[in-house]
Amino acid sequence: MDHPIKRDHARFRKIVKGKVRENLRKYVSQGQQIIPKGDDKFTVPMPSIDIPRFKFGDKSEGGTGQGQGEQGEPVDGEPGEGQPGEGEAGEGEGNKELEVEMGVDELAKILGEELELPNIEPKGKQQIASTVDKYTSIGTVGPDSLKHLKRTYKQALKRQMATGIYDPSNPRVVPIRSDYRYRSADTKIEMENSAVVIYMMDVSGSMGEEQKEIVRTESFWINLWLKSQYKDIDIRYIIHDATAKEVEEETFFRTRESGGTLISSAFKLCKHIIETDYDPNEWNIYPFHFSDGDNWSADDTKMCLSLLDDHILPASNMFCYGQVESRYGSGQFYKDLNAKYHLDHEKVILSKIKNKDAILDSIKEFLGKGK
């Protein structure tokens, strides 16, 4: 039986999830609070879960320390906002910020429940089979590094007993070559769905830091959700002003260009990426485009619409356009798309994102259809 603390632990995790759900809007609108840690794990700061007590405010308290240094020399090493000393000589309960680790699935589940997101139904026939190797069985051949000692000795013991050379008063078990057992892989066929998300963003002068921050946060949560829905997921990034290029995630959120905006350039590159790398019969494809709604000319917009109609929409599960409000943007592109596709189009989802607080609603608009 498991130790009862596992129940306390489960209880704690439940409370944590409740807290995350409660504060989801805050986490989302404040962007950077949840830190990805690789391994599909995230660190979520959890300031308010500890039991409240009467305690001293830390700043005014100060403390005592040991070591070299002149008067006025800082004791906290790092410059800037100082780590307040714990200041309690006898006690280990300093003010450590509580951080909780959560997996992609847990976090996505909370997002899903809070926004009432339907599970995505992958395009039917595009399920592809893949083989997965799991070391769950035992074989008689293999490399030494996979030798299963317990099984090897068990085998040797069996053999010795069967052949009558085992002596209980001198219980020596010596495996011979044929006793060796190795961990070996079982190959299983798993059905899996693959998806690709193609983010396109306008990085022309009118898109400021705040707008990019919104896109960054929004893409974080969209990725999170899609990751929980698909086993394999590719993410590609395209930035554009008057020309478009594919970039790394890092660059995507950092770049700031000036100059004009030709949205069609991004759509062309998007089309190119789909055609070369992602067969729509095998992939679930999600193009997202974010801009402030400015496009260079009506002609270019026309070109965009035809690219969408002829190439991008047929290949994609859905096409999402998020218009981030900016002081300079006219918001014309949203109007143009809306005039053509309306709000109830099967594959085109349009969303206006006014500010950080609107991110969550916008995510719901994008993912609420379950495609």
């Binding site: 306390d8 209880r11 409240p52 309690e88």
Partner: protein
């Protein structure tokens, strides 16, 4: 369920060896039991304060979560864990090497001796493992009866005030008698009706009822009754006891509050002797290892481990370091006779520097100190300017201009004062009951006895909200905040400042 195993073979042999040295040095300890466990088990035990069985509560799960993470990332590793009980239980970590185990054993004998002999521990219940397990059973039953959510939420509230204790109660004779009586009753009840819910009114609850009677009868003479009625609990610092006796709570709630209070008082002596206790144990592991138990090939590893434990920090005092150094300093002073009138009044620096009366009283002195002092009196009496200087102690404070903590001074008096302030009331704010019928409206007025440091008001407000849930009438707190006398008022919804 419990995955710690008693040690055997070589380790048992090692224990015998170490115990031999402990005897040789005159350590006086409870029978010592070592158990071996893997890191997961030791994390579980640590999360539960060292005890194998506690009541169900998420905070143990939270601590376990943090500890396991800390271990996985290698930021922290629990070295030794020892429980104040008779016999004294201590846990060894499976993955530790031979030298570690040796060092831990020697260290543990130090703790064991301290638990047994330090007078602040004299009234702690040495059968606390059983008591903790009983609390667990009892609270689980309440959960079955009243629902997990409801009971857990009440425990949350009780834990919110578990640091509001009165140190003097460690020596209160009534309390001692009561705890003995309580123990007997507990044993009796457990024996009589094993497993029956209805007569579970044991331990703390009976003290709660006796408490109710006491207010009515014993303590108060007839002519004082009016005044007493008005001043119920005034000056009381044992807030949990005050609430058990005076708050409109149900029996099961009083019982739970009693359990949590009993556990808090059990841990209190350890909180007020941290420096001494760790210092004493470190003094002995160091002495036993360097003069007896260590092989010459273990020397480097020992030095490394020992240095790791003794590491100094600019941000706080390492109790192991200050403790061991202070014990050594005292030993040296009493060996050489550097104390008393003659020495203190000696004006010649040179003579003082080379002072040696060859008294050899050092060992005797530190044994005596470990019996009668706690951290406050230890620092107050034995900290010297020379010691502060040698140990490079300083105080630091917050500089609002650079918004950093900066070294303030290396002045002896200032350091001593700061240390004593930090240790006062085991580092917790001093809160006492001022009026149980505040404004004549049965509101509770608590007073924070301000000693130079403001409370964290956000925490205070949440804490007051929890006390409100127990007291069921508005809760007030008088304190000093940003150099002004203020009274905060919590009415069940929000906290306001009362005009004064």
């Amino acid at each position: 369920m419990l995955r710690a195993k008693p040690i055997s073979g070589d380790l048992l042999e090692l224990q015998r060896e170490i115990q031999g040295y402990a005897d040789e040095f005159g350590l006086d300890y409870f029978p010592q039991v070592f158990e071996m466990c893997d890191y997961d088990t030791i994390n579980i035990l640590a999360a539960q304060g060292g005890f194998p069985i506690r009541y169900p509560h998420w905070k143990f799960g939270m601590d376990y979560d943090q500890l396991s993470k800390g271990y996985r990332f290698g930021i922290q590793k629990i070295y030794e864990m020892v429980i104040n009980s008779d016999p004294c239980y201590a846990y060894l970590l499976e993955v530790n090497n031979w030298l570690d185990q040796k060092l831990v054993m020697a260290h543990v004998y130090g703790h064991n001796d301290f638990f047994k002999n330090n007078m602040w521990f004299s009234n702690t219940n040495r059968k606390m493992m059983d008591v903790m397990a009983n609390h667990g059973t009892k609270i689980r039953r309440y959960m079955e009866k009243y629902g997990q959510e409801k009971v857990e939420s009440f425990i949350d509230k009780a834990l919110s005030i578990e640091n509001l204790l009165d140190i003097n109660h460690l020596f209160e004779t009534n309390e001692v008698l009561e705890s003995r009586r309580r123990k007997e009753e507990l044993a009796k009840i457990e024996g009589e009706n094993d497993g029956y819910m209805n007569d579970d009114r044991s331990a703390a609850l009976k003290s709660f009822m006796r408490g109710q009677e006491k207010i009515k009868s014993n303590d108060i003479g007839p002519e004082e009754e009016d005044v007493a009625e008005k001043n119920v609990g005034r000056g009381e610092r044992d807030i949990m006891r005050f609430l058990i006796q005076n708050a409109p709570i149900e029996e099961w709630q009083a019982d739970i509050l009693g359990c949590i209070r009993e556990e808090a008082y059990y841990f209190l002596p350890q909180r007020i002797t941290k420096i001494m206790n760790e210092g004493w144990a470190s003094y002995w592991h160091s002495t036993i290892m360097t003069t007896r138990a260590m092989n010459s090939n273990e020397f480097i590893d020992f030095a490394d481990k020992h240095a790791g434990v003794m590491v100094m920090s600019k941000q706080n005092i390492n109790p192991y370091k200050i403790g061991i150094e202070l014990f050594r300093d005292i030993e040296f002073r009493w060996n050489t006779g550097r104390f008393g009138k003659d020495y203190n009044e000696c004006e010649s620096l040179e003579e003082k520097e080379n002072w040696n009366r060859n008294l050899g009283l050092g060992r005797e002195k530190i044994f005596e100190i470990r019996k009668s002092h706690n951290d406050i009196s230890f620092i107050d009496e034995f900290l010297t300017p020379e010691f502060c200087n040698r140990q490079q102690l300083f105080t630091y404070k917050f500089n609002p201009r650079s918004s950093r903590m900066e070294i303030d001074t290396r002045d002896f008096q200032a350091i001593k004062q700061k240390l004593l302030t930090q240790l006062t009331n085991f580092g917790q704010p001093l809160i006492q009951v001022e009026d149980a019928n505040f404004m004549n409206r049965k509101e509770l007025l608590l007073k924070h006895v301000h000693q130079g440091v403001d409370l964290d008001m956000q925490f205070a407000s949440q804490t007051m909200s929890n006390i409100f849930a127990i007291w069921k009438r508005p809760v007030n707190l008088s304190t000093q905040y940003e150099d002004k006398e203020v009274v905060f008022h919590f009415d069940g919804k929000e906290m306001k400042q009362l005009n004064k």
